[in-house]
Amino acid sequence: MRLGVPRERRPGEHRVALTPTAAASLIARDVEVVVEAAAGELAGHLDGAYTGVGAQVVSSERAAWDADLVVRVGPPMPAELDRLPEGGAILGFLTPFTSADVVGRLRDRQVTALAFEALPRVSAAQGMDALSSQATAAGYAAVLEAADASPKFFPMLTTAAGTIPPAKVLVLGAGVAGLQAIATARRLGAVVSAYDVRPEAAEQIESLGARAVRLEVEAQTEGVYARALEEDEQSRQHELLAPYVADSDVVITTAAVPGRSAPILITHAMVHRMHAGAVIVDAASESGGNCEVSYAGERRVHGNGVIISGPTELPSRVAADASQMYARNVLALVQRVIVDGELIIDLSDEIVSGACVTHRGDVRHELARKLLGLSASEMEA
Amino acid sequence: MDPALITGITVFVLATFVGFEVIAKVPPTLHTPLMSGANAISGITLIGAVTAAGIEHQRLAIALGALAVCAAMVNVVGGFLVTDRMLQMFRTERRR
């Protein structure tokens, strides 16, 4: 079996889907690993490291795509989709719930697409949960971005030149990334409070030593995820959040609802109530942003002196470790679909079946079907 | 009042004080062994039994005394031995 690791070409993407260590594990299981030249460079893995463990480093992009299974970090770009062998297989973040184009073309090419976004978040699959591992990196990097953007110290400092009070950091959305952001901001000495719609998040926030903001707006989870709010709920939420936002030196937002664009948590009006030098880091900007005033991929000073940053590719800021975790996730999932050196997609395996968005011309995931306008029932057949 | 009685009461009161004070806060794991050890000590009635069985002339008294000796002996011997068994868990010398 041949496994390809093409170089990621999306600007700002520094990660690599397979580290030399992970490659070595696969090679030991008789998988032929083909890595495009310079694929790992930005994550600190030079080509020599791959050849060192027995992988084949190829300079041709085509050769890396021409494999039984292609492992990726981000979704294939249009040009790359064409390089994917018909009937082949791909694994990575494939945006199956947001990019109809990608899903449609994967289906059309009869590709077996395993998307990390669709992986069931059950206990046994935690080793493959790339959403979690990359959200961890994103949460950490979001705080570094915020600290860098803020003209204030995060910790309190009592000095001969006066006492600097600690920065007040508010984290909105306390999923994996949000919790990591809370932890990191607390480490730096900030006074952290946080909010999430899921009621059980409050305890988790407090378990990190931060203050949980409890509003009356709550949404019981559907599975592990939050549901989207109704319109009236949302406006009530804005109203209740506004004073907390206005009082903060730094706001970091990480809220998301799978298969939807990110919910708006900070409105224009709320931004205007903030003070000059306050910072908003919208870590959800890639999926539309939690802030109405959001500049994806940029940091700008708003009219009233509020600094707004919408970093994309946050995990790439810790590319080495993010790649290492990602590669471990990839390895765990790949090892599950390789039997005796052959790629076997066992659809009776709850985990594999869940992650498998397209297979033999079928779109299998409900949210992906919704995206393409297909009926839900068809899948059952 | 008889001086022997007064002496007895004095001794009894003092011994009671000692008993109260001698037991500091005891960890629960020691509750059972301590109870067992104290129980064995209460078998001191054995010497009363020996006295009763040994110096009386009356048959019934001797019989009761002998029975008392037997019962007290079980209490004393069994008590100390079983306490020791329970305490073997604390045997290991602590390295430092």
Partner: protein, 455 residues
């Protein structure tokens, strides 16, 4: 002179008891007390003008043989009932000695105070005896272990007690031997009535109380035969036993009254049981945990989400330091998904300044699990659930776990038997080597740390 020798024996008892109340010296204390006893017996034999050597020898031989064999063969789990039974023998012996005194002299012609003490020894001995027999029966499963309640229980108890007092007054007034025997008989009934209403779990407290009684009975015989060694020894056991009883109640967060009234207060009893959870788990106290930890060679701490919720990171570090100061090797076994976010335990322990070198990966931890004396599971649940390893039907089957159950002892600290994130039951809690210490992790750790100084 012989009295001074007896005094020395009594001193041995005091020293023995003192040493018995601390784990380090307990064993030697038992031996000191035993030697004191041996000396007392020898002194008595030499000093008294023994007439009936034969009777004594036979009786003593039989008693000793029974004691030795029984103590050797009894199972460790049957200790409580053995103590109850031994106590019964002690009570019986005192009652018998009192009986022998009665038989030997004409009560009517005896000093009143001697009469009184004989009566007391007889009555208390009898109560001890019958009470111990019932306690033994309950512990052994011969009598129904649960609290036995019946209508008019209170009335019956009061009545019987009144009868006993009446009989005693009559006996003393008349000096009739028969009256004394009646008191003894009624006392037997009182013993039974006293123990029957108490539930099985509270039996050790009752046994301890009866133990205190047997001391008083012995002291009573001491007054009767005017022997100060008996008085001192009996009074010692009487008071020390009482203090111990009170402490046992405190350890269960109950009052002595509450325990003795048992069945009357069944509502309370129900709460207590619920608090302690299912009866088949072993609920430990802070002191039990402290002893398990203090006498271990290696302890692995397995932190979980509950430790974070309780914000007990500083407290666990404090405990670990104290254990290390005692020479225990302490490590932290970190499960990859412990807590609610990746690295949750790292943040937590970093706040408490736990050195990175002390953190063990799951794999490393599992490697030394079997060579670990105590696994201290702090607010973790799913990540130590053996079902993930053993039960293919479990929803978390296949998740790697920290195999705490391979250690000699597992101590689990959490507030209840409630499940964790995965919402499933954890068989670990019911394992033989598992002690559950219920409570908020922060408070629990503080209490364990405090208790360390006692052990």
């Amino acid at each position: 002179m012989v009295q001074l020798l007896y005094l020395a024996c009594a001193a041995a008892f005091v020293i023995g008891l003192k040493r018995l109340s601390s784990p380090r010296t307990a064993r030697s204390g038992n031996i000191v007390a035993g030697l004191g006893m041996l000396a007392a017996v020898v002194i008595t034999l030499l000093h008294q003008d023994i007439l009936n050597w034969g009777a004594i020898a036979v009786a003593a031989a039989v008693g000793a043989a029974v004691g030795v064999v029984w103590a050797r063969q009894v199972a460790m789990t049957a200790m409580p009932q053995m103590v109850a039974a031994l106590n019964g023998f002690g009570g019986a012996a005192s009652a018998l000695v009192a009986g022998a005194e009665l038989a030997a002299r004409d009560p009517g012609a005896t000093r009143l105070d001697i009469q009184v003490t004989i009566l007391l020894a007889l009555a208390i001995g009898a109560v001890t005896f019958s009470g111990s027999v019932i306690a033994f029966g309950k512990l052994q499963g011969l009598v129904s272990g649960s609290a036995i309640a019946y209508r008019a229980q209170a009335a019956v108890s009061v009545l019987v007690t009144l009868v006993a007092v009446g009989a005693a007054v009559a006996a003393l007034a008349t000096g009739e031997v028969f009256g004394f025997w009646v008191v003894g008989g009624v006392a037997l009934v009182i013993g039974v009535l006293m123990v029957l209403p108490v539930g099985g779990a509270d039996m050790p407290v009752v046994v301890s109380l009866l133990n205190s009684f047997s001391g008083l009975a012995a002291a009573g015989t001491g007054f009767a035969i005017e022997n100060s060694a008996l008085i001192i020894g009996g009074a010692l056991v009487g008071s020390a036993g009482f203090i111990l009883t009170v402490q046992m109640c405190e350890a269960m967060n109950r009052s002595l009254m509450n325990v003795l009234l048992g069945a009357f207060t069944s509502a309370q009893a129900a709460t207590a049981t619920a608090e302690a959870g299912d009866t088949s788990v072993r609920a430990a106290t802070a002191e039990d945990v402290a002893i398990a930890l203090a006498y271990a060679e290696r302890v692995l701490i397995v932190p979980g989400y509950g430790l974070a919720v309780a914000q007990a990171q500083h407290d666990v570090q404090k405990l670990a330091r104290e254990l290390e100061a005692r020479g225990v090797e302490v490590g932290y076994a970190i499960h990859p998904v412990a807590g609610r976010m990746p690295g949750h335990m790292n943040v937590l322990l970093a706040e408490a300044d736990v050195a990175y070198e002390k953190l063990l990966d799951m794999d490393d931890a599992n490697q030394i699990a079997a060579r670990t004396d105590v696994m201290l599971v702090l607010g973790a649940n799913d990540v130590v659930n053996p079902a993930a390893r053993d039960d293919p039907s479990s929803p978390i089957y296949g998740m790697p776990i920290i195999e705490v159950d391979r250690a000699k002892t597992v101590v689990v600290v959490k507030r209840s038997l409630a499940p964790g994130y995965a919402g499933i039951d954890n068989p670990l809690f019911y394992f033989d080597q598992t002690m559950m210490f219920f409570g908020d992790a922060k408070e629990a750790l503080q209490r364990v740390t405090e208790s360390l100084s006692l052990v």
